[in-house]
């Protein structure tokens, strides 16, 4: 396949970036999107250029690092996958592909397509955990009976890989889907209930401080989420947040 790429290039956080055109040939439809980027970078390096910086790690859809905004959608046109799981057979010979970084004030660009998602880490640090003694005398989790429905819901929420596609796809750059998943995965379980009030207050507070937008309930996030985290968790987050405010 021959492809026309338009890729956002930006030297560093301070400089102004722009879309740069690249042409690439002999791309196999069986390649993954990141492999196509590797081939492009080899070509750029051979020509003594500066390769396109992009994030990636596991390349199997579990780490959440790969973060491109491809043809107007995070992780490209396919649903329920990350960029590393996207294959070139989703494109046609002669296609033009726009490749941009995830854009949000709270995700500043480091270089080219690499953005700083440590805002998510700070939200997690503000309450996305349970305070449990792990020095050897931990109880087996299975000694506490948990209804199947809640166990399943908590597990679904816990599949969030913190990729940031929800923020990238949202017209308001809202992080509500991520935060709702991280709050729910604990608050649905007995071990997480103990600190539920402080957790939701602190995490929402941190989310607001990071400069994410407000939620307009467009639903873009749950359609683009590689793990299919449901909008239901946002409604649940709203409920929990109000309850916590009344308690405090």
């Amino acid at each position: 396949m021959k492809l026309y790429l338009k890729i956002w290039r930006q030297k560093n956080n301070k400089s102004k970036g722009s879309m740069i055109d690249y042409e690439i040939d002999n791309i196999s439809p069986d390649m993954s999107f990141l492999e196509m980027m590797d081939v492009l970078n080899e070509k750029i390096i051979e020509e003594n250029g500066d390769p396109v910086a992009f994030d990636h790690d596991c390349r199997e859809g579990i780490c959440g690092s790969c973060s491109m905004f491809i043809n107007g959608e995070p992780h490209g046109p396919d649903k329920l996958i990350t960029t590393c799981q996207l294959h070139m057979r989703k494109f046609k010979d002669g296609d033009t592909i726009y490749i941009e970084p995830f854009r949000a004030k709270a995700f500043p660009i480091i270089k080219d397509l690499v953005v700083d998602r440590s805002a998510f880490d700070r939200i997690q640090q503000s309450g996305g955990f349970i305070s449990i003694n792990t020095s050897g005398n931990t109880l087996d989790a299975n000694t506490i009976p948990i209804e199947k429905e809640n166990a399943d819901k908590a597990f679904d929420a816990a599949t969030c890989i913190g990729c940031g596609a929800c923020v990238a796809s949202c017209k308001n750059s809202s992080a509500m889907l991520f935060v709702s998943a991280k709050v729910s995965q604990f608050s649905l379980l007995p071990q997480g209930k103990v600190e539920a009030t402080d957790r939701v207050l602190n995490m929402v507070n941190q989310m607001d401080e990071e400069g994410f937008g407000n939620c307009t309930n467009t639903g873009a996030c749950h359609v683009e989420c590689p793990k299919g985290i449901s909008l239901d968790y946002i409604a649940k987050l709203n409920r929990e947040y109000v309850k916590a405010n009344i308690k405090k």
Partner: protein, 222 residues
């Protein structure tokens, strides 16, 4: 509690509550107006009541005005904050692949409704205040129907009203279901809420359109 309304979620809850309040008002307004289609006397009686009852005039009316102002000011604030949250825009952004057009353009439909409200105030509210509180004319309980059909003689006005109702419809289709989500309604009800949202969002504005057109055509030659 102070924190609540300074937070993103709190602002959305305030937005949803003011939106739901406006929806209740709109329903009430529609139910009164629709009587004008089949009974001049019922319409006059209800309008006279609403226009002269002190509870409605001096308590409910100010609450409504504050509610409307709160809603659109908050709408602008949220929109401004949301734009600020993405300072550099995407070169290509395919919102249609993941969300409804109406949900992404609440501010546009809102601004059209706001301009309509200005016209509507000028048409009915300003003359009404002038009649009652400035000129202090003697109350005639049968004047309301005449005033109504007089307004709908003008085709330009009827056209503008109908156009605005289309935008109101776009606003409400998303607005109603969105407000329940903001208020934390369990999503097992979302399919039924979405249906109600569509029915209400299309039905009420279409009803208002019908009223305007009905009077326009009924009194076309008179």
């Amino acid at each position: 509690m102070k924190k609540l309304f300074n937070s993103s979620i709190g602002r959305k809850i305030a937005m949803a509550l003011s939106g739901v309040f406006l929806i209740v008002f709109l329903t009430q307004h529609f139910l009164i107006n629709i009587t004008s289609v089949f009974s001049e006397s019922i319409f006059n009686m209800l309008s006279h009541f609403m226009g002269n009852n002190p509870l409605v005039q001096f308590i409910l009316q100010p609450i409504l005005i504050v509610g409307v102002i709160f809603h659109f000011v908050m709408g602008f604030v949220l929109d401004w904050q949301n734009r600020k949250a993405r300072p550099v825009k995407y070169a290509v952004y395919k919102g249609s692949r993941n969300s409804m057009f109406v949900s992404r353009n609440m501010i546009i439909s809102g601004i059209v409704i706001l301009s309509f409200l200005a016209l509507h105030f000028y048409d009915f509210w300003v003359p009404e205040m002038d009649y009652k509180y400035i000129q202090v004319l003697p109350e005639d309980p049968d004047r309301y129907y005449e005033e109504l059909i007089h307004k709908f003689e003008n085709p330009v006005r009827v056209g503008l009203y109908c156009l605005s109702f289309i935008f109101l419809s776009l606003h409400l289709i998303h607005g109603l279901s969105s407000s329940t989500q903001s208020l934390g309604t369990n999503n097992k009800y979302s399919s039924i809420i979405n249906k109600i949202s569509y029915a209400f969002g299309i039905g009420i504005p279409a009803g208002f359109c019908f009223i305007a057109l009905f009077h326009f055509f009924m009194h076309f030659n008179t």
